[in-house]
């Protein structure tokens, strides 16, 4: 008997000219959580797709429970007992939980609904998953959908679970719940491969860490011997500054954005904005913190003209811009790094040049009398690629081919190049790797120092802590508290996120 459930030996995968995995070794012990850490494009996904039978390795051998195996399809992987929870869930929203769980199992013509539900309930109670087999997926919050995915894997008898960036979509409390479940599972002898580029999480949940960098394995280490800084160095290959270098804000009194008594109808009740007041001055970063879905999106959309304002006022540079069109608000020198960089922030079939003028079509440098000057654009694009270190395989490739970090750099470059008075950045580093995050933080501070007022919406507390000059916390469509630079601490923000008042009544 081997103590390893999985051994991947000298796995190499070549795509055309690119080597995505270069002689990578990976072992997983029984009952452990192995974190697979690496920047975007380090080869994590390729390696896992090989393990799950989606790709065939160019060379190398996989051993499962000590036996050499050849995994040529996901079906074979499932048969062996390898289950994968994808980053983007593979659930059918219109189906119920139990239907999703048994989907694709095949075998019989007639489904034994009662037996399936029974088995689901048993599994759910064993691992404290709050899954009702009769619930419809479309009605479930993201956290529960993920539990269904895990249940699906368990139902198929997997002993090794692969979780691809599982926390990206979760709220803090959902994350806690997920980690509990994972610990529970490893106690029962399940093994987990936890793919992530978030160092905190890796430190918190894993037993060992395997670090990949540019397709090569850098090493495997015991988590308890590591610190966040050491891991980051392994991952990026250099020291990473966690606390962003930033001088104090110059504290201008120049009000760039003023929001007065704003009410906006939201997607849900909790995100409906009620009588909100807010001011941002030139040269400061205002962090807007809070659990997603408490009105942050609505606030940003109302400011940028993408959502109607019901009452109240939005003043930009002293001018009333309430309910103006997005075009007018762009003209008022407002830049926006939107939440959804793929669908909203860029057009994926366009190359970099064409994406650079997305919000700048009236700029006389690039178009005169409705005719575009691609020569001038190409020059600007070249400069931006240099300055922002945007990596692309081919200069003219559509941006759909770029990694998340590179795409976000293109968007940020476009918005900052417009020399905005107000820069609104919504989750600017969500899902990006450490290197890209560091770079984007630097650029945001540069924009601030150039005199822009920056509205930073983020669910990452660390990002808020390290960038903001002032912080407001949103809860239920209201501002539950504001913290000046000296008061910004994780604990205070955490309290406000739950809608509590700080320094409240003495009888508590």
């Amino acid at each position: 008997m081997s103590k390893h459930i999985l051994r991947m030996d000298q796995i190499t995968k070549v795509f055309g000219k690119m080597t995505a995995n270069d002689h990578v070794d990976l072992t997983v012990r029984k009952g452990e959580i192995l974190a697979l850490l690496g920047e975007n494009g380090a080869g994590k996904s390729t390696l896992m797709n090989i393990l799950y039978g989606l790709y065939k390795p160019t060379s190398g051998q996989i051993y499962f429970n000590g036996e050499p195996v050849s995994i040529n399809s996901p079906l074979k992987a499932i048969e062996l007992g390898i289950g994968m929870v994808h980053q983007h869930f593979m659930l059918i929203p219109a189906f119920k939980v139990w239907e999703n769980v048994v989907l694709g199992l095949g075998g019989r013509v007639i489904l034994d609904e009662a037996a399936a539900k029974e088995k689901i309930r048993a599994l759910a109670s064993e691992y404290q998953l709050e899954v009702d087999p009769d619930a419809r997926i479309s009605n479930l919050p993201v956290g529960l959908q993920q539990q269904v995915e895990i249940l699906k894997v368990l139902y198929r008898g997997s002993r090794l679970l692969i979780l691809d960036e599982p926390t990206g979509v979760l709220t803090p409390s959902e994350k806690v719940k997920l980690f509990q479940t994972l610990r529970e599972l490893t106690k029962d002898g399940f093994s987990v491969i936890f793919i992530s580029h978030k160092l905190d999480e890796v430190m918190e949940i894993s037993d060992r860490v395997t670090v990949l960098c540019r397709g090569k394995k850098i090493g495997t280490v015991d988590t308890k011997d590591m610190t966040k800084e050491k891991l980051a160095r392994l991952m990026v290959g250099r020291d990473v500054v966690f606390t962003v270098e930033k001088t104090a804000s110059k504290g201008s009194q120049d009000k760039v954005l003023e929001i007065q008594d704003l009410s906006v109808k939201g997607r849900r009740l909790a995100s409906t904005i009620k009588h909100l007041n807010l001011t941002i001055h030139a040269g400061e970063i205002l962090g807007v913190s809070g659990v997603d879905g408490n009105g942050q999106s609505e606030l940003v959309e109302a400011i940028t003209g993408l959502r109607p304002v019901e009452s109240g006022k939005v003043l930009i540079d002293g001018k009333d811009m309430t309910n103006r069109s997005p075009a007018e608000i762009i003209k008022a020198k407002t830049a926006l790094v939107p939440e959804d960089r793929k669908k909203v922030g860029s057009v994926k079939s366009y190359n970099i040049e064409k994406n650079l003028i997305l919000r700048d079509l009236t700029n006389p440098a690039y178009c005169k009398h409705g005719i575009l000057n691609y020569k001038a654009l190409e020059k600007t694009a070249d400069e931006i690629i240099q300055e922002y270190d945007i990596r692309l395989s081919e200069r003219q490739s559509p941006v759909g081919a770029l990694s998340g970090g590179n795409l976000q750099k293109v968007i940020l470059a476009r918005e900052i190049k417009s020399q905005p008075r107000l820069l609104v950045a919504m989750h600017p580093t969500r899902g990006l790797d450490v290197g890209a995050i560091e770079f984007i933080h630097k650029k945001l501070i540069e924009a601030r120092d150039a005199g822009a007022a920056v509205l930073l919406v983020s669910a990452e507390l660390e990002e808020i802590l390290s960038l903001s000059d002032r912080v407001v916390v949103m809860s239920g469509g209201r501002i539950s508290g504001e913290l000046g630079e000296k008061d910004i601490t994780m604990e205070k923000i955490g309290l406000l996120m739950g809608g509590e008042k700080l320094g409240g009544s003495a009888n508590g």
């Binding site: 065939k56 993408l306 069109s325 997005p326 075009a327 007018e328 608000i329 762009i330 926006l336 939107p338 959804d340 669908k343 909203v344 922030g345 860029s346 057009v347 994926k348 079939s349 366009y350 064409k354 003028i357 997305l358 919000r359 079509l361 178009c367 409705g370 005719i371 575009l372 081919e394 003219q396 490739s397 559509p398």
Partner: protein
């Protein structure tokens, strides 16, 4: 870096290859049908080729037939690039034809021809644009499907035209058609004794115009952005609702223009059956051409050549012209499945190679 092969150019090459393979395959398969009629496919195709491309009359006929297809086709390509489906080419064509002939019928015969043509062209463009824009406006306002509205408006236009040529605009003599245009108002022939007329230049200019709009202008950029990603378009400050109307109006304007050109260049009057479902054929061509306006020109010439060739094939070999529809449909069929087959083929080849390496 591969030398001078931008992704766009590579895609163009691939599309051309797929198209060529599809056309060859379509001809091969249609041979079966011709064989079934007891005719030698080789003789049939030779007759087809001769009919369309070796005689002056055939060539002229190809140009005449391609003219409205090009104009409507580039309009369809424009709409589709803007994310809208214009299936109303026929209706917009009828409206353009009816409105533009009125210019020639009601202006005094002494009016200079150029004035008549320019006015008629403008009227054709505006009326076709209105007819097309209607469905875009309805979509922007009430979120109705432009697919259904344009198809329904085809019938409205068809019956409106029917009523006019049976009633108010009917020429004396009992035939359901309008009076003919003055001889001086007719567009000049480019090959005498045939139907090929100067409208082909309008068609070529239309194709160049649309090509240029997408290549160089902010208008084209905006239209394309609305089509590629409506969310990004809103974010970019583009008034997408307004663009829906505009895109459909522009597309309709081309079809309306085609109506004018067909009336002033070929028929000299409006009559029932003036369009042999040009709208749908143009749609097919726009798709064959992958929405590239210049490729629409080539596609229109090709489809027209097929049609003309089929006529001669029918006369020479008594193979029915409907064989052309079979060929057309097969081309589309093969175009749609070729990419799938190709990737399948590639992966099976690479698998085999892989096995060899492993062994």
């Amino acid at each position: 870096m591969a030398k001078n092969s931008s992704p766009a150019r590579r895609a163009l090459g691939q599309n051309a290859l797929v198209l060529a393979v599809s056309i060859v395959a379509a001809f091969l398969v249609s041979m079966i049908f011709i064989l079934a009629l007891g005719v030698s496919p080789v003789d049939a195709f030779v007759s087809m080729f001769r009919g369309a491309l070796t005689r002056k009359y055939g060539l002229a006929e190809v140009l005449a037939k391609a003219t409205p297809l090009i104009i409507i086709g580039v309009g369809v390509a424009l709409a589709t690039r803007g994310g809208m489906s214009n299936l109303g080419g026929d209706g917009q064509f009828y409206i353009g034809a009816i409105c533009s002939i009125c210019v020639g019928l009601f202006l005094p015969p002494s009016t200079p021809a150029l004035v008549v043509w320019v006015l008629a062209l403008i009227v054709g463009i505006l009326s076709g644009g209105f007819w097309g824009g209607l469905s875009g406006w309805l979509k922007a306002k009430f979120n109705t499907s432009e697919v259904i509205i344009t198809i329904m408006l085809n019938y409205v236009a068809l019956y409106l035209m029917g009523w006019l040529v049976h009633g108010p605009l009917q020429a004396p003599g009992g035939i359901p058609q309008t009076q003919a245009l003055e001889k001086s108002f007719q567009l000049p022939k480019i090959i005498s004794g045939t139907r090929a007329h100067a409208g082909i230049f309008i068609a070529l200019a239309s194709a160049l115009l649309v090509w240029w709009i997408f290549k160089k202008t902010t208008l084209g950029y905006r239209i394309q952005t609305v089509g590629e990603s409506p969310d990004a378009a809103v974010y970019a400050g583009i008034k997408t609702n307004r663009y829906m109307s505009l895109i459909m109006a522009l597309s309709g304007a081309f079809a309306g223009m085609a109506g004018m050109v067909e009336v002033y260049g070929v028929h000299y009057r409006v009559l029932e059956g003036i369009s042999s479902s040009f709208g749908f054929t143009a749609m097919l061509i726009a798709l064959l051409a992958k929405l590239n306006p210049l490729a629409v020109v080539i596609g229109s010439l090709f489809i027209s050549a097929l049609t003309v060739g089929a006529n001669s094939m029918q006369i020479d070999m008594s193979v029915p012209t409907s064989i052309v529809n079979v060929v057309q449909s097969l081309i589309i069929f093969f175009m749609l499945i070729t990419p799938a087959i190709k990737s399948d083929l590639l992966s099976s080849i690479s698998k085999k190679r892989h096995k060899k390496e492993v062994a």
